[in-house]
């Protein structure tokens, strides 16, 4: 009984604790935002792990899909629920903002999933380095498309998401952003977990091992690649949407290749094909970035150095190809996953 619900219990307690601390303002705004970025990073790294780790492709344009999600969710939210210079008066009653918010974030995810097709189609015929170049190109295409759309701010960026959050808080006063980030993080991890442990997901593993062998074992590789790329970029879109609302401001520059690299670093840090590794690495990396903040620009010398050292001494990442339960079998006593 306890074993069965232990994960649910821990997550509920953790969520409750964060909301409680945020509500009574025991946690400063700074700590809260670090926590929220941790959630977003977990979504981003675990969704990229789906492609780079489980499927064995090499995608380096993850921030591009994040960008699509961020912009679609922001524009929808601001257009529908906030007073804004560009979009004018809210289209709907701001009271509905609270209920519509998850739908808006999911809409960003769907848009990003469609953008994922940009990479999915070329992946039928190419892989490895060539596909990597295509994903970088996709990243650039998305960013320059948005930079040239002056109606949504172009390269100056887009503001006004705070209005949507204010509208939610007017309806019911709770720390909504931490709540949504927490829920969406759990949702995304759950989706990925279910996906890779399904029979269908075993085909993803087969593709990473040997595409031809997968094909002759009746695995429809094109279909799996399409779905996996779309799922991965869709989840990145959700992460991007949340990212935009946490900051309250987006500009295309924050989704450039540097951001993609940052996500990739988290995946490799955690270990390819290890979901718990991605989560741990996202948490660790977010904290590391914050600790190194005083170093300012030197940070970008220290972090690659850390990565080089890691690749030298533990090339398979923190967790390797394994999950937490495989490294500490005793943990299995306390939880059960299906």
């Amino acid at each position: 009984m306890l074993k069965r619900y232990s994960v649910h219990l821990i997550l509920t307690l953790l969520g409750g604790l964060i909301v409680y601390l945020a509500y009574f303002e025991y946690l400063g705004l700074y700590f809260l935002s670090v926590l929220m970025f941790m959630g977003v990073n977990i979504i981003l790294s675990s969704s990229l792990n789906l492609v780079n780790g489980y499927m064995g492709e090499f995608s380096c344009g993850h921030a591009g899909f994040m960008c699509v999600g961020a912009y679609v969710a922001s524009v929808l939210g601001v257009w529908l629920f906030a007073r804004d210079r560009v979009f004018g008066a809210p289209l709907l009653d701001p009271d509905y903002a609270l209920y519509a918010f998850p739908v808006i974030i999911l809409a960003g995810g769907v848009a990003a999933a469609l953008a994922g097709l940009l990479v999915a189609f070329p992946s039928y015929k190419t892989r490895g380095d060539y596909l990597a170049i295509i994903t970088i190109a996709a990243n650039y295409i998305i960013i320059s498309a948005i930079e040239n759309m002056s109606s949504i701010g172009g390269s100056r960026g887009l503001m006004g998401m705070k209005g949507v959050i204010n509208a939610m808080e007017d309806t019911l006063y709770l720390p909504w952003m931490p709540i949504w980030v927490f829920l969406f993080t759990i949702f995304c991890v759950w989706v990925i977990r279910r996906y890779v442990s399904s029979t269908f997901g075993k085909g993803v593993n087969a593709i990473s091992q040997d595409e031809v062998a997968a094909e002759i074992m009746s695995v429809n590789t094109n279909k799996i690649k399409t779905i996996t790329f779309m799922l991965s970029s869709g989840l990145a879109g959700i992460g991007g949407g949340l990212f935009a609302y946490i900051l309250g401001y987006v500009n295309p520059g924050s989704f450039n290749i540097l951001k993609s690299t940052e996500i990739m670093v988290m995946v490799y840090l955690g270990g390819m094909g290890s979901l718990s590794g991605s989560i741990l690495a996202a948490i660790f990396f977010t904290i590391l970035l914050e600790l190194l903040r005083p170093l300012q620009i030197i940070k970008w010398i220290v972090i690659p150095l850390v990565l080089i050292i890691l690749m030298q001494f533990r090339p398979e990442g923190i967790m390797g190809n394994r999950e937490l339960g495989q490294i500490f079998p005793r943990l299995k006593k306390f939880y059960r996953f299906k």
Binding site: T199, K202, S218
Partner: protein, 241 residues
């Protein structure tokens, strides 16, 4: 005629690998394609299994028919699923990071979930008892011969009626080679149709009912196994005497 290949010409990029070959396989037969390196044996099998470029060739002329219907537009996953034709590729290509059991399970990927899989696992284990002993081992830790058994067993688990075998004897010790071929004979006696590609011509002709000899993309001889074994040219070129 279960499977027929008619005047097939294929290319890898700009290089033509097959220059109009024709062969057929009847139900319940073992047919072998023999020939030297680069003769086009594997290429023919890849074309029949409908694998896509770049790894596999592009068909530029001719036709491949299954029970009289062209399968040129069929996807490789559907070749396994609908036509029940499974390839056990050269070099085994098993999924090394999965266990033996997981490899076999993966082969049932597109199958009807209601099928009696337990019985089929038993059939494979009955054929290759070594696999049963090692079923929870990661398959990359198996010996070469065991990996070959796994590759054949995996193809069987797709529920196929036609088995396409590419160089099953490659890298096997002589004892294991004979053992594997005895198993193949047993499979055939149970009703499996087999298309065998083999470099070891005497071994292949011993097993097969009929054979074709390939040379640089052309079929240079065909006939029953006995005819081929007694053909002086074939004898001289492939049977060592």
């Amino acid at each position: 005629m279960l499977l027929s290949v008619e005047n097939l010409e294929v290319k890898y990029g700009n290089i033509q690998a097959l220059h109009g070959i024709s062969f057929h396989v009847n139900e319940g037969e073992i047919v072998t394609l023999i020939g030297a390196n680069g003769a086009g044996k594997t290429t023919s099998l890849y074309a029949v299994a409908r694998l896509a470029p770049p790894e596999a060739p592009r068909v530029i002329a001719g036709d491949i028919k299954f029970q009289g219907k062209s399968i040129l537009a069929t996807r490789p996953s559907d070749v396994v699923k609908q036509l029940k034709m499974a390839l056990s590729p050269e070099g085994r290509r098993i999924f090394g990071n999965l266990t033996v059991m997981e490899n076999l399970k993966l082969a049932t990927y597109a199958r009807d979930k209601s099928a009696d899989l337990e019985q089929e696992f038993e059939r494979v284990f009955d054929l290759f008892p070594r696999l049963k002993e090692r079923r929870l081992q990661r398959s990359e830790s198996l010996s070469g011969g065991e990996q070959q058994m796994l590759a054949v067993g995996r193809a069987l688990m797709t529920g196929c009626r036609i088995l396409l075998l590419d160089e099953p004897s490659m890298g096997l010790a002589p004892v294991l080679k004979y053992e594997l071929f005895r198993k193949l004979k047993r499979l055939n006696e149970e009703g499996m149709t087999i298309l065998l590609v083999e470099q070891n011509a005497s071994l292949a002709l011993n097993l097969a009912h009929r054979g074709y000899v390939l040379d640089t993309g052309h079929i240079v001889a065909e006939g029953t196994s006995a005819e081929l074994s007694n053909n002086p040219d074939v004898k001289k070129a492939y049977l060592g005497g």
